[in-house]
């Protein structure tokens, strides 16, 4: 291999023909084993456009999927395609991808501006172009005022945003975010979510992973659920949730006057049971969660109930996974 003196990157040398019909991301019966441990097994999936949330518990294989996609891992079986090309040992398609890795280690001794601009130059930008680009993306993620401070002094949310900025610097068509919200406080969470939503609105293909349903739900409805290395469900969140409707759900409401709320709620036919753990608490049992949530706001507003907390203890990823895998069925 001769070093690329023209610095135009392998991307330009290797003729990857962007196939117009090829999905941005394609997994064809992909498996990955580490020794005897199977991280993912037999995943087939094709995605193009939009924001997609990859949901799964820790160890479900989300990061493995992303690393396969970024050519960091070699699939043990099946084939992975990124823009229609095999990403393993081939950095060509990365020119159109921005990747935010999961790991928290960063170059603490650099400033965010240096970090982003140095990595922009790896996309073939000159020093001056890289500076301008870095400033642009850092403003986009809202780090302009601290961009000349060392990353080591940043809070977790700022570090995540710096990582996102470094991934956005080449204006990528596909953005992969591995646990972008992990460990962030609510404020940082909201900022990052806004950034992702904005990117989705700009028409980018976005893959993000999380193990918290509510986070994903605030960003996108298109989800992929992974469980123990297998594809459990794929599609619209609401559609998935609707399937769960014939399973009894529990909703907890904390309010000033549980009794009057109970009276109003009982008028709904979907409710089939009530419980009063305390004078200000109400437990409602329903078979149709979606239907119930459609009606509930109206009841509260119409009857001017003072509701403090609505809790869906069952509506987290754990219980969805439980239902889907038949654990609670």
């Amino acid at each position: 291999m001769i070093p690329d003196l023209a610095q135009e990157g392998k991307a330009q040398e290797q003729q990857w023909v962007p196939q117009p019909k090829a999905p941005v991301v394609m997994f064809n019966n992909v498996g990955k084993t580490y020794g005897r441990y199977q991280a993912i097994g037999g995943i087939s999936l094709a995605l193009s456009g939009g924001v997609t949330g990859i949901l799964g518990l820790n160890g479900a294989g989300k990061s493995t999927m992303f690393k396969l996609l970024m050519g960091k891992l070699q699939p043990s079986q099946g084939e992975v395609r990124l823009f229609g090309t095999n990403p393993w040992k081939n950095p060509a398609p990365y020119a159109r991808v921005g990747y935010v890795p999961e790991n928290e280690n960063m170059y603490d001794w650099m400033t965010a501006h240096e970090f982003v601009s140095i990595f922009a130059r790896l996309h073939g930008l000159t020093r001056d172009e890289a500076k301008i680009e870095a400033e642009r993306v850092l403003e986009f993620v809202g780090l302009t005022d601290v961009m000349h401070k060392k990353i080591g002094l940043y809070s977790k949310g700022m570090r995540q945003r710096a990582k996102i900025a470094h991934a956005l610097v080449n204006d990528p068509e596909l953005i992969i975010l591995d646990e972008p919200l992990q460990g962030c406080d609510p404020l940082a969470r909201t900022t990052i979510m806004n950034v992702i939503r904005e990117l989705g609105r700009m028409g980018r293909t976005i893959l993000l992973s999380s193990h918290i349903l509510s986070e994903i739900e605030r960003i996108t409805e298109q989800i992929v659920i992974l469980h123990q290395g297998r594809l459990l469900a794929i599609g619209n969140l609401h559609a998935i949730r609707e399937q769960l409707d014939n399973i009894p759900h529990t909703i907890e409401i904390e309010c000033n006057d549980a009794k009057s709320l109970a009276r109003d709620v009982l008028s709904l036919e979907v409710v089939h049971g009530l419980q009063f753990p305390s004078p200000t608490k109400l437990k409602i049992f329903t078979h149709h969660l979606g239907e119930f949530h459609k009606r509930l706001p109206r009841i509260i507003v119409d009857n001017e109930h003072d509701v403090m907390v609505i809790n869906n203890p069952d509506d987290d990823l754990q219980s969805i996974l439980g239902y889907l895998t038949g654990g609670y069925g």
Binding site: L213, S214, L296, P297, V309, I310, N311, P313, D316
Partner: protein
Amino acid sequence: MTEESTLDASNPVTGKSRMDAAWGSESSDQASIAQPVAQTGQVFEQVYVPWQGTLNPRWMRNWAIFRHHVLGIVRKGHRPWGIPTKLVLIFVLIASMTDVALTLLFAVIGEPDLYELWGVGRNNLYGHVLGFFPRNMLYYPLVAALLVGGVISEDRSNGTSALYFSRPINRFDYVGMKYLAVATIQSFIIIGTLFLYYFVDILAMGRGWAWILDTFPLFLTTVFCAILLVVTYTSIGLALSSVSRGKFFPGIALLAVLLGTKTLAAIVNGLFDSSILYLISPYDSVAHVGQALIGTNIVYDHPWIWSLASVVAINAVSLYVLSVRVSSMEVTRE
């Protein structure tokens, strides 16, 4: 305490107030979807029973640390030494038993001339512990480097030193036990094989009491020199381990100190015919003391007392650095 504040599984504590959930989120199709609150876990009923036992004596706690490190070489469930470290230890252990094997071999063959070459004697005892090539060039420094490599710095970089210091353990006990453990493992190899060498000779050659009385003082002197060697290597190594944070830096630095000073002194000796710079080489200082005590041919020009002073100074400086670093060490993940 009111009824609401009981903590049990049926009444999870979430502490979330999410009014906006009731009004739906901003997009219209989601208007009717309640925003679920992340489950933050449940606090189960649990009773905290303070520990009422009596603390074991200090030596017993220290013994546990020591045991944890030494047993890690052979058993699981103790300090996990790396596989390469274990392999090198086994290799060096076998390689430093070559003289034992040759003694046995020639005892069996009954070849007195060859036996003289390998049997217990002044030069061979010296060579077993302090010979430069290959023992103190390849084997013992490598063992010391691998052992001290992560022994303190890894605790610092992983934050596991906090696990130690949150127990009733004195910092100096912690370091002292690590020191002893590392020195003990090296001693197994250096002094253990020396013992084996001596006693195999007695058994294989059927030595009488007269021979034993003759050579035993020599043997004890060699053991003393071996202890000096082990202590010096361990002191320097642990001092380096306490000032750095990586796993490999202390190891390379120890080798650089041991072999680099030796090379430097050799350059000066070759060019300017002055052996004085060998005083900065820990190995050469110990070797010089060993040559004087065991009574082999002295290859250095300066008096051996200087080398002894140098050994003491090297150890003192290393232990000083070690103690200063340990007492001022911040218990955090660095």
